[in-house]
Amino acid sequence: MNAALLGILSYLGLGVLGILFGRGRLAAVLALVAGGVTLSLWAPEFPEGFLGGPPLGIALAGDFWALGIWGLALLLHAAVLLHGWKKEGLFHAIITVLIGTCLAGGVSRDLFNLYIVLELATLLSVILVAKEGRSPAVWAALRYLLLAGVGMILYLFGLGLVYGRTGLLAVSALAHADFSIPSIRIGVGFLLVGAAVKTGVFLLGLWLPPAHGQAPTEVSALLSGLVVKLGVMTMARLAEAFPVEPIVLALGILTGFGGLIYAIWEQDLKVFLAYSTVSQLGYMLLGLGLENQEAGLFYAVAHGLFKGLLFLSAGSAIEGAGKRKISELRGGLPWPAVLGLALGAWAIAGLPPLAGFPGKYALALSSPIWAKGILLGLSLGTAASFSKLLPILQPKNGDQAGGIFLLTAAILGLGIWGIFLFPGLWRLNPWLEAVLPAGAGYGVYLVLRKVPAKIRRLPLDWAILSALLTSLFLIAVVLFA
């Protein structure tokens, strides 16, 4: 535990020093080294301990979620550092603090500590989204802040209800609490809603697409790759403490398909990737809902890496061409961007041998037949939505892009490691099951391309209202189910 605390403190401390004294890049590099060293000191796990002594201390544990979040955070930080090396020092310093917050979230198993981490991550993300001062980005950041604020108020109410009844905040202690008491059930409903808003679950977290789409390139990669995983992890902790798996499962299905509908017809490249993040969250929630948390985590890490790669490549493509619309980007992209977009799309469609392939296989491995059907449907839709990137993949000139190469190596490595991890992947069936939906998805794309669709994005008032109504519905479900 001490090693993990040391890593978190050096990240936060170096980040704050970087903000104060303006040597952000140096602070980021030092923090990255400290993070890597401390991770190697405590990996692969450390037992649960209480910071400040039991029973009131903050519960921390180095379980598989902590390991996944730490590995993902450090890899993404290295990639973002390489990609945005020429950015100003303050930017790197704020990112360092954000990564430190995510590391703290990875090990915490205490509902209130998770609240603090989520709020801190929101504030830092909002600063990073709005930092360049373009007014669409500032407006997206404000939307994000308002909706996340609503979610966190609901989370505090839930925390109060659960704590008022049980006197407990640690996840492992709450797992023994009596779930049949109505006030605890209502409280759990509130907690779940708060975490779902932060995660970007469909109809609750509609702040996500504009914020991720308008943010600067490196920030989009971090938000989609890492920060939403904190919300997923919070939901995993809640599913561990309380029997709410069926509700998480329903939320996962809704999010998966809801995000897809928007992603298929979206034309702005980065907003399209953001809607695809919403849809991909469905996979991770399905993993949690099917009580297969390891598979959910594997997919979360894989998604973090390939979505980070996609956002970094999309950023260089957009900066290279000066346009955001997918149809206008055809031809003339720098070749690292083309490589990243192609391999990212390959991985997100679940094609071997990249990281999405073992991820999707692990989710389907122990699930019932209907869940396999849902997963196939999601794969097909994902392939259909990403098929629209194919026409623009024509490389022209070169550009330095270290982060893209790092993440490419990471998704390839994770994919190959995953293939060795699951012996079932050495047969022909899973390969066919991966290739066929992707091929069918391309067919669906060819059909849907002819269908003009104008899907309205929800304005802020409606986003808040839909979040509140969905949360009332969800709380009622938790109460009476």
Binding site: A130, G133, L159, P459
Partner: protein, 112 residues
Amino acid sequence: MEALSGLALAVALAGLGLWAMVTRRNIVWKLLGLNVASGGSILFLVALSHRPGARPAIRGLGPGPAVDPLPQALVLTAIVIHFATLALALALVIILTEHRHTQDAKRLEEEQ
């Protein structure tokens, strides 16, 4: 009774704040709504720590049961976070007002 009225007030405040967030079009009003609602959530935690006849959780205030100190400690952190949220949001509103010359949520949404 005191605890119950405190809880009812907390829920009412949160409802009022969220109502303002949904119905008002001016973003400064929305922020005020958010702030009132977060005040409600803080009051909720404080009211929950109440025990009948208990003294404040300060050492040396005499014998008898004290209120639960943990929610009050949590509330301190939550207050700081809500303050930071409000300050950051107002800074963003200033930037938006300078660029777009409006604080109307609908018009901010349209002119993208």
